[in-house]
């Protein structure tokens, strides 16, 4: 059974944004053109006549040429749709608002709260209609994990596995959770490793599980194993830059500098802003005598590292030693 408290998290602010709709019946709009209709509907919405205003707001919103009016209509539409509990209508407004006003702080603010509210409503619905379903437990586990409630989260993941022992992704999440716990026990890495191995039995195509097993093997200095896991991860997901980076780093640890170059070149192409890819590629080039190439990669690394140090001499808040 899902914890109801889990689903009660983040709705409060949207309430403040949304205009409450009254039960009053508004007069029929008299204005003939779209702009007039939109303005009239907005007035109705502001007075709380959402049931009457919403159809007209929907009709006029996408057709308005006046950007300011379109923005106001969209925001009013979102508020009314959320108030009336019409998620489809809200989603339509949100989609167009996001597209037409991507840099507008007020629009973005409303988007955050509306999507959050939609998410919460969907979660409540899931808890209501299928409280003991695999998906409800999964959602609950993820919420608990996000809150750092590691043991309750693990218990919920186990419930998912009780209902469906071959549920894909759950062993991966359990392994990740084990690695995230503060003050872990001495065998935690080993336990996590088993979870990732279990995941691969269920889903042999899980590149993430292969990747983490590669990192664990690298940490344990089982470098040949690390190379195998990273290679499989990279082959399963050719866009997985970190897998190529892990492979290159493991090959460097094995002092196989020539072999490390190809995966590291791939990593630096896939993740051109990742300093680690360029640093390791520079090292590999350097060790095989390609000094100009190495210098070039080290220069990119240095530039990226300096860029990443944006906080240098910046805001000291939340920057303890």
């Amino acid at each position: 059974m899902c914890e109801p408290s889990t689903f009660r998290a983040a709705v409060a602010l949207i309430g403040a944004v949304v205009v409450t709709c009254s039960a009053q019946v508004a007069r029929k709009p008299q204005t003939p053109d779209i702009s007039s209709s939109a303005r009239h509907s907005l007035e109705l919405a502001k007075k709380g006549h959402c049931a009457e205003a919403l159809p007209a707001l929907r009709r006029s919103f996408s057709r308005l040429g006046d950007k300011d009016l379109q923005r106001e209509t969209g925001l009013g539409g979102v508020r009314c749709a959320m108030t009336l509990g019409q998620p489809d209508a809200a989603a339509d407004f949100l989609q167009i608002l996001g597209r037409e006003f991507p840099n507008d702080p007020e629009v973005l603010y409303v988007l955050v709260h509306a999507y959050s509210d939609l998410s919460t409503r969907a979660a409540q619905e899931l808890a209501h209609v299928a409280p003991d379903s695999e998906q409800a437990h999964l959602l609950d586990a993820e919420a608990l994990e996000t809150q750092g409630k590691w043991d309750p989260a693990a218990a919920e993941y186990q419930k998912v596995l009780q209902k469906n022992p071959r549920a894909a992704g759950v062993h991966f999440r359990l392994g990740r959770l084990l690695l995230s716990k503060p003050n872990p026990g001495p065998d935690m890495a080993e336990q996590a490793k088993k979870e990732f191995q279990e995941e691969l039995k269920i889903d042999p195509n899980n590149a993430g599980a292969e990747y983490v097993l590669g990192e664990l093997a690298h940490q344990d200095q089982q470098l040949d194993d690390a190379v195998q896991h990273f290679s499989r991860a990279a082959s399963l997901d050719p866009s997985f830059g970190d897998a190529f980076l892990g492979l290159g780093a493991a090959l460097i640890s094995l002092k196989k500098f020539s072999e490390a170059i190809a995966p590291l070149e791939a990593a630096s192409k896939l993740e051109p802003a990742n300093p680690a890819a360029h640093y390791n590629l520079g090292l590999a080039y350097s060790r095989v005598g390609r000094k100009p190439d190495a210098d070039k990669e080290f220069a990119i690394h240095r530039q990226l590292t300096q860029n990443n140090k944006g906080q240098d001499q910046g805001d000291p808040s939340q920057n303890p030693n």
């Binding site: 992704g169 991966f172 999440r173 990740r176 084990l178 690695l179 995230s180 716990k181 503060p182 003050n183 872990p184 026990g185 001495p186 065998d187 935690m188 890495a189 996590a192 993430g208 990747y211 983490v212 990192e215 664990l216 940490q219 200095q221 970190d242 980076l245 892990g246 780093a249 460097i252 640890s253 002092k255 300093p275 680690a276 360029h278 640093y279 390791n280 520079g282 090292l283 350097s286 060790r287 190495a294 080290f298 690394h301 240095r302 590292t305 140090k309 906080q311 240098d312 001499q313 910046g314 000291p316 808040s317 939340q318 920057n319 303890p320 030693n321």
Partner: protein, 565 residues
């Protein structure tokens, strides 16, 4: 599924792989069997303690000091002790005033405070100390680094010192940390490198807050501007010339905590490895003609394996694997691991920390003072690490995953691999300290190299090594004549039966601290030392070979005399 990046993974995995275990067996061992014994102040007579002057404003220097040294200031053959304290500065006015301390070795395991007579109390906000006979008069001089202005004390040879900073021109204003005496231009005189940390004063101090209730904490140094370190050339007349810029060193702003002078490429010119905090470490390769080339990145010692700058603090250099090439070690902050850099003989290094187990053992530790030395005289260089997190909020911020006070770590080198022997090395290894400086030296002349650890805002910890008599050894003091007086850069090769070993006398190493100038050469249970060769540093370059050597005592070898005494 939320993405799991390499960087997130590396941080997340830190906990499960680090466990500092204390074996049941270790706790059951009687104290007599442990190699190290803590000598309390009631036995040593060392009643001085460090005061950090910790304030609500959390000025960063409060958490970084201070250093200590073993030195024989009066040349009586018994190692004395120097300890650095905080003092008056723009953010701290201690009442009553604080001072550094010089303790004379009474030759019976006790020490006497002779600071006032010697005139080496300093009084500024002290950080570290470097010891070297810069004028070649046979008496070691003191360079005390401070936040504000550093001090050069010339040893008068009569138990007193004179502050000659202004005449010498080595005040190095700002926040200095470690310093090292070495002869960079092979003219036979000791020059001086001084680490400069960040651009800091009371007005530039930043407010940093952390945790759910936004408590005030010590700032991460990346908030402060890096500064170039100093290189002072010894003119031979008691004065020095600032050659930071022409040498190339001044072109590299860093945040330097530690420095060791060593020869990484066996070219006879002493290089510098500098540990920087939150920026890349420097490896200054000495190219001759007074020029240094910074090669840290190409050498593979500037960054972590992920290409990230770390918080380098303490460091050292030694040929730990006996391949004839000097290796490097640097300690970092929690979640970064320390690095053991093995020399590839081509000005590149590979980090062997993970392969040796040192990486896992130090994953959550923050390291300061450290030193390679052969504590059990078996002929292999071991490694002692002094630790402690600089952030007094760290336990709250990490839910006690990382400790503020941390234990010492001792790794034994058996010639093939490293073993963490901390749990069976003495009760002191079960204590948690806010350790900073670490100096090695044999204060009781029994051949077992002892340890002095300075502790932030606490009394120092003196460890007596009880293994001195278990194996045979020879202690040597090298005195350069044409070469620099302290023989920094000298290489010593010795053979005892099947054991052949090579050692280099490095300059400095550790953190804010300096060491007994004598080298103790362990030979295990072998009954005699067959021969010993000394390759004196340039401009001498002389190779001297000695046979018929004694064991289990100290001797002095003066360059060019062809004999020991």
């Amino acid at each position: 599924m939320p993405p799991l990046t390499r960087r997130h993974f590396l941080r997340g995995i830190a906990g499960p792989l680090f466990v500092h275990r204390l074996g049941r067996l270790a706790r059951a061992l009687p104290d007599l069997l442990y190699p190290f014994e803590e000598i309390p102040p009631s036995r040593s007579g060392i009643t001085w303690r460090h005061t950090a002057g910790k304030s609500p404003e959390k000025y960063l220097p409060e958490t970084t000091g201070a250093g200590c040294a073993f030195l024989d200031y009066d040349n009586d053959g018994w190692i004395d002790i120097y300890l650095v304290n905080s003092g008056k500065c723009d953010f701290y006015v201690p009442n009553p005033p604080l001072r550094n301390a010089l303790y004379h070795n009474n030759r019976d395991g006790t020490f006497a405070d002779v600071t006032e007579k010697a005139g080496v109390g300093a009084g500024g906000y002290g950080q570290g100390v470097a010891v070297g006979d810069y004028d070649g008069d046979g008496f070691p001089d003191l360079y005390v680094t401070q936040y504000g202005r550093s001090i050069l004390y010339h040893n008068n040879g009569d138990g007193t010192f004179t502050d000659v900073t202004e005449k010498a021109g080595v005040a190095a204003p700002g926040w200095c940390s470690s310093a090292v005496w070495f002869d960079y231009d092979n003219d036979g005189r000791l020059d001086l490198f001084v680490c400069h940390f960040v651009d800091f004063d009371k007005a530039k101090s930043k407010d940093c807050h952390a945790g759910e209730d936004a408590k005030r904490g010590y700032c991460i140094p990346h908030l402060y501007k890096p500064m170039p370190s100093w290189l002072f050339h010894n003119n031979g007349d008691g004065t020095f010339t600032d050659v930071s810029k022409p040498s190339g060193i001044g072109n590299y702003p860093g945040k330097a905590w530690g420095v060791v002078a060593t020869d990484i490429n066996n070219d006879g010119r002493v290089d510098l490895f500098v540990a920087n905090d939150t920026v890349a470490n420097f490896l200054f390769a000495n190219r001759g003609n007074g020029r240094f080339e910074e090669i840290g990145t190409q050498a593979g010692v500037a960054y972590s394996a992920e290409g990230r700058p770390r918080s380098g603090m303490g460091l050292d250099s030694a040929d730990f694997n006996q391949d004839g090439w000097m290796d490097l070690f640097v300690a970092n902050i929690d979640h970064e691991m320390y690095s053991l850099y093995q020399n590839n003989h081509d000005e590149t290094f590979d980090d062997e920390a993970l392969a040796t187990g040192i990486g896992q053992a130090t994953r959550l530790m923050s390291g300061w003072g450290l030193k390679f030395f052969d504590y059990d005289n078996d002929g292999n260089l071991d490694l002692l690490l002094a630790n402690g997190n600089p952030d007094d909020l760290i336990e709250e911020l990490t839910r006690k995953q990382v400790g503020y006070h941390e234990p010492l770590l001792l790794f034994h080198n058996n010639g093939q691999s490293w073993e963490n022997v901390s749990s069976r090395s003495g009760p002191v290894f079960r204590k948690s300290l806010s350790a900073r400086g670490l100096a090695i030296g044999d204060f009781d002349n029994d051949g077992g190299v002892d340890v002095l650890i300075s502790v932030n805002d606490d009394p120092p910890v003196l460890l007596r090594n009880k293994t001195g008599g278990h194996n045979h050894w020879l202690g040597i003091q090298l005195v350069g004549k044409k070469a620099n007086a302290d023989a920094v850069g000298a290489r010593v090769i010795y053979q005892a039966g099947d054991l052949k070993r090579s050692r280099m006398k490095v300059g400095g190493g550790s953190y804010l601290s300096y060491h007994d100038p004598r080298m103790v050469l362990g030979i295990g249970q072998r009954p005699k030392l067959d021969w010993l060769e000394i390759q004196w540093p340039q401009p001498s370059g002389r190779l001297e070979r000695f046979t018929d050597l004694p064991i289990d005592r100290y001797i002095t070898i003066v360059e060019g005399e062809g004999k020991w005494k």
